[in-house]
């Protein structure tokens, strides 16, 4: 492990230490913040009986489905908006109006349309990822320098060949950076939606535990939510950026 990675672990270690020694100095009921060993024991139980894995798998499956639906609609629509003034003029006011209604604000209507369960949750995630991706697609296409357009057109590119050689890869530059944000928003919306309209998943797991004052489950859920995102970011989005935009010299860090 590189030193820069190891340093990133320090704040986590500090937080865990504080959590572990806090009961020695402060007197508080353990249901408010259960001792670290209790949460650890609970983690081992939840791993052993497969409940945690089940919730995680459900949540990740929904995120993937919501991502597919959201980006599948947002990318073609974003390209159309960026390239065609009439499409842009027609749709922009509506999209701005809808954008102000945050993904989570759709939950009540989603419950009425799709009922409690996977349908509502996926709808809310897809909705959230759709807006983040749409915005990035429009920006990405519009940010393609005019000189590149001209170069490809004077090399003989037009219509579909122009789209495949220039527009899609050009938009991808912004999209790859944007996917990270879109997925982060989607992941947050997912947890919230599961709390209200879910029947399983990490969000449901944490909110359900509140009824029984199982604070260790709540904490376990929150840690899992953060940890899964950290792993996804490191194992999926960082490598994708490394072999694309950073290799092309567009993003330097």
């Amino acid at each position: 492990m590189k030193l820069s990675n190891a340093i990133g672990l320090l704040p986590f270690a500090a937080a865990l230490t504080a959590w572990a020694i806090l009961p020695l100095y402060v007197d508080y009921p353990s249901y408010m913040l259960p001792p670290l060993p209790d949460v650890w024991t609970h983690l081992l139980e939840a791993l052993a009986d497969g409940t945690l894995a089940g919730h995680v798998a459900n949540s990740l499956g929904r995120l993937a489905l919501g991502f597919a639906v959201g980006t599948g609609i947002a990318i073609p629509l974003g390209i159309a908006i960026a390239l065609n003034r009439h499409v842009a003029d027609t749709l922009k006011p509506l999209l701005t109006f809808l954008q102000s209604i945050a993904g989570i604000a759709w939950v009540p209507l989603a419950i009425i349309w799709f009922g409690i369960g996977i349908g509502s949750v996926v709808f809310v995630i897809a909705n959230t990822i759709f807006f983040a991706t749409l915005y990035n697609t429009v920006i990405g296409v519009q940010a393609i320098p005019q000189a590149l357009h001209r170069a490809v057109r004077s090399l003989g590119g037009k219509g579909l060949s122009l789209a495949s050689v220039l527009i899609l890869p050009g938009a991808l530059v912004q999209l790859i950076v944007g996917f990270r944000t879109a997925m982060a928003y989607g992941w947050r919306a997912l947890v919230a939606a599961e709390m209200i309209a879910g029947t399983n998943g990490l969000g449901y797991m944490t909110i359900e535990a509140v009824q029984w004052y199982r604070t260790e489950t709540v904490l376990l859920g929150m840690i899992a939510i953060g940890l899964i995102w950290l792993v996804m970011d490191r194992l999926i989005f960082e490598p994708i950026e490394r072999v694309t935009v950073r290799r092309w010299g567009i993003v330097q860090r």
């Binding site: 000189a147 490809v152 004077s154 567009i250």
Partner: protein
């Protein structure tokens, strides 16, 4: 003697460009007439704002003339096309493609199969002394290498005319001199028609068979000067101290600056 064949003909051209930020139209070129002859290297010089880049845009087909006629081989220019290759000041290489794929882009757009277009790209890369850079990405190249890649890409598409819009303006002085010599060496192997726009009088006289001088905006052709210096003497070691080159350069410079006593 037969008069040489004309490839590009501009007659009483009027060009305007739109200032997007202000939403205004500006007159760039008015009553401009110019012939670009087959297989010649024609340079266009003029002060900034004389509309020389706008002229390239119109010939490339990015901009429609407001008035006048603009033709390639007698046919009116209607839009961009692979018959007119363009080299831009900002290189305009696709950052997500390797040098090889950038150079093979024109043939790719024409549907040439992969092995064949890569073979052709490698041929032009070798011509531009870039064989070792074939698998690099553009951001790994120096400015000079980027522009040589752009020239190779244009030539690999085998256009009838190469339009060059201040291609060396963003490159440092020493590299620029090398690139000018390189360009002539590469051009001597293909000998296609070139229209080269620059604000540097020295560059124009070094490269061109003829140099067209534009008046300050709105631009018209003030005069066209022949550069009767043999192609085998076109290197800086020879011309740097050549009295004939100096005479032509000083003449063109005076004309561009408007201190030659002639009406603009």
């Amino acid at each position: 003697m037969n008069s040489p064949k004309v490839r590009i003909a501009a007659r009483d051209l009027r060009l305007e460009y739109r200032d997007e930020a202000r939403g205004e139209h500006h007159l760039a070129v008015e009553k401009l007439s110019l012939d670009v002859r087959e297989n010649e290297f024609l340079c266009v010089v003029g002060p900034s704002g004389c509309g020389k880049s706008t002229l390239i845009s119109a010939i490339a087909g990015f901009l429609k003339p407001v008035a006048g006629e603009l033709t390639l081989d007698g046919k009116r220019i209607e839009g961009p096309g692979a018959d007119r290759g363009v080299v831009f000041q900002e290189y305009a290489l696709l950052p997500w493609m390797t040098v090889l794929d950038n150079v093979a882009l024109g043939p790719k757009l024409k549907g040439v199969p992969k092995t064949e277009r890569h073979e052709r790209a490698r041929h032009y890369l070798a011509m531009a002394n870039l064989s070792d850079a074939a698998l690099k990405f553009p951001h790994e190249l120096s400015g000079g290498m980027k522009q040589r890649t752009a020239v190779a890409r244009t030539l690999a598409n085998e256009p009838q005319v190469m339009l060059m819009d201040e291609p060396f303006a963003a490159i440092d002085a020493q590299t620029r001199m090398t690139l000018q010599e390189e360009l002539l060496r590469i051009w001597s192997k293909s000998r296609i028609t070139v229209l080269f726009v620059t604000h540097s009088v020295e560059e124009a006289c070094f490269l061109g068979d003829r140099v067209a001088i534009l008046t300050p905006g709105p631009g018209r052709v003030k005069e066209i000067v022949d550069v009767p210096i043999a192609r085998d003497r076109r290197n800086w070691a020879t011309l740097g101290a050549d009295p004939e080159f100096a005479r032509i350069r000083d003449y063109v410079l005076a004309s561009v600056r408007g201190v030659d006593g002639k009406a603009a």
